[in-house]
């Protein structure tokens, strides 16, 4: 039995080309990984991490569990295409084996088995199973067509605007399974067999179309099917469909603890090309929903970066609020990638920079607890005086790091991409903290908090946000706020919530002094105030627009007072509302009587 016909040619060529290119990419990316990353892979390879990764591949690459959480219909669409196609391939192999036994069959033999197996006796089970799986995949294709027309049904207000290459691959993909249905049905019409789908359609065709036209149709249909496959395979490594073969190694590498950093590395390729451009990141983006900016979202950023056409305006225009990252079904580290793109565009190492920091010390007071207000907090003196009241009430001896003006924590500069220079500020502050012998470092600014925890090396110093610190004081009985009747609502600052995972402490503190009402978007889904220092592009007016939309949501809770725990959020939201916007520390200080 030969498994070759001329129509197989497009498929064979396409598949071969695809495998060569994908393998080339994988090998190149892996070889170029930094030595430390390679070591991590070797160390993780023969551990339970590999199993964990394999299980995640099943869950995410095949079943698309995370997309189900965004919207069940959308999840089904992705699952039917990925898992359905996968099952079709697996079942196809089993089918071939059951017919011809364990012998080598070329790839096209498996794929076009229906065409070659006309002379063999039919096995109704496989006819049925293969048709069922084909129907499964076709339902996904139908949904994909439907999504183009009406994406809202799948919980997406907006879908990705695709580039030409993606459109070609997408069209080819859309035609593969309808083409397969027609091809198999015509073969069934001529030679009998087939399940409830191909068999029935074949029977109908046999009854209504003459043999000669059917034979011509069969040739055309199989050629078309093979060409669609071939075209799709050729386009795959260059289009968004590369994600199919990138997400799998990405999951493994992630389980081996590889991470992107502020500097570009080869690992970034796995993240960037794992983006399927599903566009789930578009809807959460407030630049889109409030400002109508449509070309900077993570999907476009990754696309532009992948094809080497990333521009500064796109890289700069992001709040780095992490709302999209929270929703990304592939779990791509979007903020870090954005950051290391900025690093490539803007980082200019300069030894002479910030030499003026040498010897500076404006700190005051003495104590084991250090308080770093942060630059922005110096512009919200109510927070400062509230913290002072709290420290006093708790009888805490405090070393004030920057009340008379200090040195910036370095995170704003880092977020702008000048990562090397930012390190100089970090080194300065680290030395300052060590010099004064503190054991606890409290800050009111979540931006500072995040950089202290992630980039500073502070052995023996526990870094706390003031919300955590205040809660500890309350729980230890060192502060006894009185519970009042005021109704508060709480705005999660991005750097505190999604950035540092601190959601519960501020809420517990608020509940100790009054009633807490949650806004519509809260915790992981909380909105960004719009004034994030990470966005280098939007104007003051645009910041205000976002602030107003956030304030409107906070006001809708009916709370009398809007509470937040970040000086920048406080300033920003305060511009958008006439209701009082206060820092967490203020309501605590006011309740101490």
């Amino acid at each position: 039995m030969t498994f070759y016909a001329p129509f197989c040619l497009p498929f064979i060529l396409g598949a071969a080309l695809m495998f060569i290119i994908v393998a080339w990419k994988w090998i190149l990316w892996l070889l170029r990984l930094p030595r430390s990353d390679k070591r991590l892979i070797l160390r993780g390879l023969f551990t339970h991490r590999t199993l964990g990764a394999a299980w995640e591949v099943v869950r995410e690459s095949l079943l698309h569990r995370r997309i189900f959480r965004v919207n069940p219909l959308l999840g089904y669409m992705h699952m039917s295409l990925a898992f359905g196609w996968f099952l079709l391939i697996v079942m196809g192999w089993i089918e071939t084996i059951s017919y011809v036994g364990f012998r080598w069959v070329p790839l096209q033999g498996h794929v076009f088995f229906k065409y070659f197996a006309t002379s063999l006796p039919h096995k109704p089970f496989f006819d049925f199973a293969m048709d069922l799986l084909l129907l499964f995949v076709l339902s996904g294709v139908a949904l994909a067509w439907g999504k183009r027309l009406y994406s809202r049904a799948m919980g997406m207000r907006r879908t990705t605007k695709h580039v030409l290459g993606d459109r070609i691959a997408l069209s080819a993909l859309w035609f593969i399974f309808p083409a397969r249905l027609v091809a198999e049905s015509t073969t069934c019409a001529l030679y009998g067999g087939g399940g409830f789908l191909t068999g029935s359609i074949g029977g109908w065709m046999g009854a209504h179309i003459g043999v000669l036209p059917l034979m011509n149709l069969e040739t055309v249909a199989w050629w078309f099917y093979s060409s669609c496959l071939g075209l799709f395979f050729v386009a795959l490594p260059f289009s968004r469909y590369m994600h199919i073969f990138t997400e799998i190694p990405l999951i493994f590498l992630r389980h081996y603890r590889l991470r992107s950093t502020e500097k570009h590395s080869s690992y970034d390729h796995f993240q960037i090309e794992a983006c399927s451009r599903c566009g789930i990141c578009i809807d959460p983006c407030q630049l889109q929903s409030v400002l109508g900016i449509n070309d900077v979202q993570s999907v476009y950023f990754l696309r532009d970066r992948r094809y080497g056409m990333l521009t500064r305006p796109v890289a700069d225009n992001c709040l780095m609020c992490g709302r999209c990252e929270e929703k990304c079904p592939v779990g791509i580290d979007l903020n870090t990638l954005r950051l290391n793109s900025r690093d490539r565009m803007r980082n200019v190492p300069d030894e002479r920079r910030y030499t003026y920091l040498r010897g500076v010390d404006r700190s005051s007071g003495e104590g084991k607890v250090g308080y770093f207000a942060g630059c922005m907090t110096l512009l919200t003196p109510r927070t400062l005086s509230a913290m002072s009241t709290i420290f006093e009430a708790a009888g805490e001896e405090v070393w004030w790091a920057d009340r008379e003006g200090g040195v910036c924590c370095g995170r704003p500069l880092k977020l702008s991409g000048e990562t090397d220079s930012a390190r100089k500020m970090m080194r300065y502050n680290t030395e300052l903290f060590r010099k004064h012998g503190i054991t606890t470092l409290v800050t009111s600014c979540p931006i500072c908090l995040k950089v202290f925890r992630e980039d500073y090396d502070l052995p023996g110093i526990e870094v706390l946000h003031h919300s955590e610190y205040i809660l500890r004081l309350i729980r230890a009985g060192r502060l006894s706020p009185t519970h009042g009747t005021t109704r508060y609502t709480y705005h999660d600052p991005c750097e505190l919530g999604r950035g540092s995972g601190i959601y519960d402490e501020p809420r517990a503190v608020i509940e100790a002094v009054g009633e807490l009402l949650e806004p519509a978007s809260t915790r992981e889904n909380a909105l960004c105030c719009g004034s994030s220092v990470a966005n280098l592009a939007i104007s003051d007016g645009q910041q205000l627009q976002i602030a107003r939309s956030v304030a409107a949501e906070m006001e809708a809770t009916g709370a009398e007072v809007i509470v937040t725990a970040c000086p920048l959020c406080k300033k920003a939201i305060g511009r958008g509302t006439r209701r009082p916007v206060v820092d967490l520390s203020e309501i605590v200080a006011a309740s101490l009587k």
């Binding site: 919200t380 003196p381 305060g574």
Partner: protein
């Protein structure tokens, strides 16, 4: 039967409008949300540039209103207007033939500019607080002592995008100079500093007063916006600014920091405008039909504007505009 025009707001503009309408043979009805007439002027001490006591102007206007027997509805709040009807918040509906909106402005809440410490530190006061102190005859620090060093900060809540107040409030510059002189008269030994971005002396006698403040009273003018205020251990207020004329940062401790707060559009302008289909400027103030030949007319026939409902104005301008609005309303109802 006499035509009836409802004047909303019993401040100086409203009173003057009502008086002029009565003169023209129209029946005015004054609606005032407070229990007495006078509006913002009640809180003022003396008026620039002549140092005329505000009471003088106020008493005379009130007397005239009283004498002319104008119907005044006190402690009444308006919830919607149309050219033929005004609805009070109690639900009462007042029929009329035209409406003049003279509900004025709201003082900017200085505590929004948190970095200046108003409401946080002692001895940070607003220009309105200072007028009240002048009226009470007790100008002093929180501890009762006399201030020796006083700073005035111009443009608090004016020309500031950060508090969504893009407009110039027009009268704070001259108020700042006036109050500086008053402080200097009260405390001749004190040093008075005015921190400004631009000094806008637009009226007759203003520039002369400015010059007098500099030359006769030795008041210092520093060109720079104060950026932060913080308390010192001795209970003073430390302020930071850039002295832009020397290009160097400046810091100083003062006994009293006076914030010259600006004028803000009333919050209920939005509701009134929405109900009646009136246009508002970006600043939130009402937008006159045009700025030249229809500056007291709204875009809706039968609704007119007098005074600071449409933009910050001084007292003279408000009174003139009130007369013009009354004339326009009278002409409208007589037709």
């Amino acid at each position: 039967m006499k035509k009836r025009v409802i004047v909303i707001g019993g401040g100086i503009a409203g009173m003057q409008t009502a008086l002029r309408l009565a003169e023209q043979g129209v029946e005015p009805v004054l609606i005032e949300k407070e229990p007495e007439l006078g509006g913002k002027l009640r809180g003022w001490h003396v008026l620039f540039p002549s140092f005329t006591p505000a009471q003088e102007v106020l008493t005379e206007l009130r007397r005239r209103v009283n004498d002319s027997g104008i119907e005044c509805r006190m402690s009444a709040e308006v919830c919607s207007v149309s050219p033929r009807e005004v609805v009070l918040s109690g639900g009462e509906r007042l029929a009329c033939d035209a409406v003049v909106l003279a509900s004025g402005f709201t003082l900017f809440d200085a505590s929004i500019k948190e970095e200046y410490g108003y409401g946080i530190y002692d001895n940070v006061v607003t220009s309105a607080d200072l007028e009240r102190m002048f009226n009470e005859g007790r100008v002093a620090k929180a501890d009762g002592s006399a201030p020796r060093r006083i700073a005035f900060l111009h443009c608090v809540g004016s020309r500031d995008e950060k508090v969504c107040q893009q407009h110039c409030s027009k009268v704070c510059c001259v108020t700042g100079v006036k109050q500086a002189i008053e402080m200097k008269r009260l405390f001749p030994e004190s040093d008075v500093f005015n921190f400004y971005m631009d000094i806008r002396m637009f009226g007759p006698g203003y520039e002369e007063m400015y010059r007098e403040a500099q030359q006769t009273y030795n008041i210092h003018f520093v060109r720079g916006r104060i950026s932060e205020a913080s308390p010192t251990l001795e209970g003073r207020v430390q302020i930071k600014a850039e002295d832009t004329l020397t290009g160097r940062p400046l810091r100083m401790s003062v006994d009293m920091l006076v914030l010259l707060i600006g004028m803000r559009a009333n919050d209920d302008n939005e509701q009134l405008a929405r109900g009646a289909g009136l246009e508002r400027a970006r600043s939130g103030f009402m937008k006159p039909r045009d700025l030249f030949l229809g500056n007291v007319c709204s875009n809706i026939g039968g609704i007119f504007y007098a005074g600071t409902i449409s933009a910050p104005k001084n007292i003279g301008e408000s009174l003139n505009e009130a007369t013009a609005a009354a004339d326009a309303a009278a002409r409208y109802v007589m037709q």
